[in-house]
Amino acid sequence: MRVFKILALFMAIALLLISSPDFISAQDEDAEYDDAAYEALLEKGKEYYNARCEACHGADGDGKGFVDIIRVSEKNGRVLEIYPRDFTVGVYKFRSTATGCLPDDKDLMGTVKRGITKSLMPPQDNISSEETEAVVEYVKSFSERYEEEDPCDQISVADPPVWVASEKSIEKGKKIYKDMKCWECHGDLGKGDGPKSNDITDDWGKRLLPFNFVTGELKRGSTAENVYMTFTAGLDGTGMPSYQDTLNEEDRWHLVSYTLKLMGLTESDKKTASH
């Protein structure tokens, strides 16, 4: 069911991208906005932001809204402390660009649409594409980074190889998991309880807990492509580095297989679950 939902979401996004060529062209002509139109866009974005985002992310986009820290108790009793993103820094986890880069606008828009249900950021499913664009533009305006840098190119992801999630690939992934010391944070069994798990902080000194594969779904969505993108682009601001340079593409896909196995999302897992 969930898979179906995610799939539907992707289909919707894909359809959206294909069906609105002027949307894409607007992207390309970003710099050519005239000031008045840009102001109007920002105004629209601000309105939406204040109604929907301000409570958590704060009126100034510094992540210090009235809601403050959100606490989530995972199924194993581990309590995650979630801080709403500080937009003034301009560092984002969910990108399809190389590590250290600004995210592509599509990444931000995707996050707004999809929400981050794992962190209780609600999906904005009834938002129009103009509104999304406006709110993303407004969010970008909080950070000075956007005035100085341009987003890097998106990393293209091919379809996952057919052998992903196969027995052999899982075995190889398991070895990589061991060799690359993933277990130091994520634990031997992927429960997020590795030896270093207790002293990880993000770039701003707040405590982070490594992802627990066994109980959770991935924040950006648990498809093979998303897992692959996490390995490739890294999660900026956290302890999760990019493996674009250290692992070749094939190895990353093997690691994806093993991750899916830990999350119980391979075909054989589903079969046993349905029994």
């Binding site: 809601v67 995972e74 199924k75 309590v79």
Partner: protein
């Protein structure tokens, strides 16, 4: 040559029959316990200190030993193999001959108590596999691992005595049981919540009571209970049990669990010196019934097990706006559609005075400044405007129509308690001032900028959720 067929059949069959009768006799002669007893006898004879002792040893009769205790309805044959259990010379011998450890059998002589009254296992069986009852033996009560053996002590003795005389594990387990809030979901003796199964006689439930599919190791009730304390969802995938153990806590609780038994010991076996009833003040009661979900109650947490936010109930902002009567109402009625069940006496078995004590405890950190009142009745409310505001500002946490849960931070607003028990002022205050320590922000003037009129509209709209369309 005549009748050759039948005569041959007769001859062969007779030979086969004789062979199997012989094999049957042989099997009887070389049974496990006979082998052990012979070995024991030889050991006694070999190690005899003097002639008299050797004579006594040689006179040892090899035969089944049965300990029949009529008042306990026990026929234990354990001593057919564990034959040296009362012999002080066997202190250093290996199993099955070794002397019983500790000084337990001094006060609990085997001929008065038997073995299975404490150790369980199948006393009637005369081979190891069946007697210990582990694995596939079709026996409901396998021998109890020694780390849980103190559960048996609690069948006859009071906790104070156990504490003083060396059975502190079960005492600690009992304390944990009270303080982990187990009875928030499980009824025991008719008192407790309804989310989990009642625990009466849980210690003597047969093996088939438990779904053993996910149990690691031997499929025994002991392993099931212990492992489900460690990770409830590893044993019952759909479990909603909120219990988080540290180190040996699961062992201690398991020990206690197996002292909750259906069968009662005869009064002559019970030895209750000084029964101390556990404290029933507000804090103890809060721990007993509330702590499993609400924890300290200071912060509110979105819980992935319940898939909804568990509200903070002891933080001052909440207490500032909710008086004791409101809190008691919520406790008594519960919140329909959530895991908060009703704590009325008829539903939970908890006495009303106990609920009062709990409410008092919850309210004990209340500061006495009152919030600026919100005169709800003074406003002309507009439900349509309220709906628009709600959908725009509230629904992404509380959900459309206030259902909450399912990855939405807000709590359920649709239940009868919010709709009927809580007054509109209380809701309006909450919206205006927010709840510090919870994700509920202040929507009032200084906060997210809703006017009092807006707030009144929203309250009016929220109050329509309960109405049937």
């Amino acid at each position: 040559m005549h009748s050759r067929f039948y005569l041959s059949l007769l001859l062969i069959s007779s030979l086969v029959l004789m062979m199997f009768i012989g094999m049957g006799v042989y099997r009887e002669m070389t049974s496990e316990w006979k082998t052990y007893q012979t070995e024991y006898k030889n050991m006694l004879v070999r190690n005899a200190e003097d002639d008299a002792a050797r004579k006594r040893a040689e006179k040892l009769e090899i035969g089944l030993r049965q300990n029949y205790v009529a008042s306990l309805n026990k026929s234990d044959r354990c001593m057919s193999c564990h034959i040296g259990v009362e012999n002080p010379y066997m202190a250093k011998a290996d199993q099955p001959f070794t002397l019983h450890s500790g000084d337990y059998i001094e006060n609990h002589p085997v001929d008065k108590f038997g073995c299975t009254i404490c150790h369980y296992g199948q006393g009637r069986a005369t081979n190891k596999k069946e007697a210990h009852g582990k694995g596939h033996t079709h026996w409901d009560y396998p021998i109890i691992p020694t780390k849980y053996i103190q559960s048996a002590c609690a069948k006859c003795h009071d906790y104070k005595m156990l504490q003083e005389e060396g059975a502190e594990l079960v005492v600690k387990g009992e304390k944990l049981f009270r303080e982990k809030g187990c009875r928030g979901c499980h009824k025991l003796n008719g008192v407790g919540g309804d989310l989990g199964k009642a625990l009466d006689g849980i210690g003597s439930k047969p093996r088939a009571y438990y779904a053993m599919k996910h149990v690691v190791g031997e499929h025994t009730a002991y392993n099931w209970i212990k492992q489900h304390f460690d990770d409830p969802r590893a044993i019952v995938p759909t479990s909603e049990m909120r219990v988080f153990m540290e180190e040996d806590e699961s062992d201690l609780l398991t020990t206690y669990i197996f002292s909750i038994r259906e069968e009662e010991m005869p009064s002559k076996y019970r030895f209750l010196k000084n029964i101390v009833t556990p404290p029933r003040d507000g804090e103890s009661l809060y721990k007993m019934f509330c702590v499993a979900c609400h924890g300290s109650g200071k912060i509110s947490v979105y819980d992935e097990i319940f898939d909804r936010t568990i509200p903070a109930i002891t933080n001052p902002p909440f207490l500032r706006s909710a008086d004791n009567k409101t809190i008691k109402n919520i406790v008594m009625e519960g919140r329909g559609g959530t895991q908060m069940t009703s704590w009325k006496t008829t539903a939970s078995g908890l006495k009303e005075e106990d609920v009062d004590k709990i409410v008092e405890y919850v309210a004990s950190s209340r500061t006495y400044e009152r919030p600026e009142p919100f005169n709800y009745l003074e406003f002309q409310t507009n439900i349509d405007s309220g709906m628009r505001l709600y959908n725009n500002r509230c629904s992404y946490c509380h959900g459309k129509e206030g259902k909450g849960g399912n990855r939405q931070l807000g709590i359920n607003l649709k239940n009868s308690t919010v709709q009927q028990v809580l007054d509109p002022e209380f809701l309006a205050l909450t919206i205006r001032d927010g709840r510090e320590g919870t994700p509920m922000p202040s929507f009032g003037g200084d906060g997210l900028g809703l006017s009092d009129q807006n707030i009144a509209d929203v309250v009016a709209y929220v109050k329509t959720f309960g109405k049937k369309k």
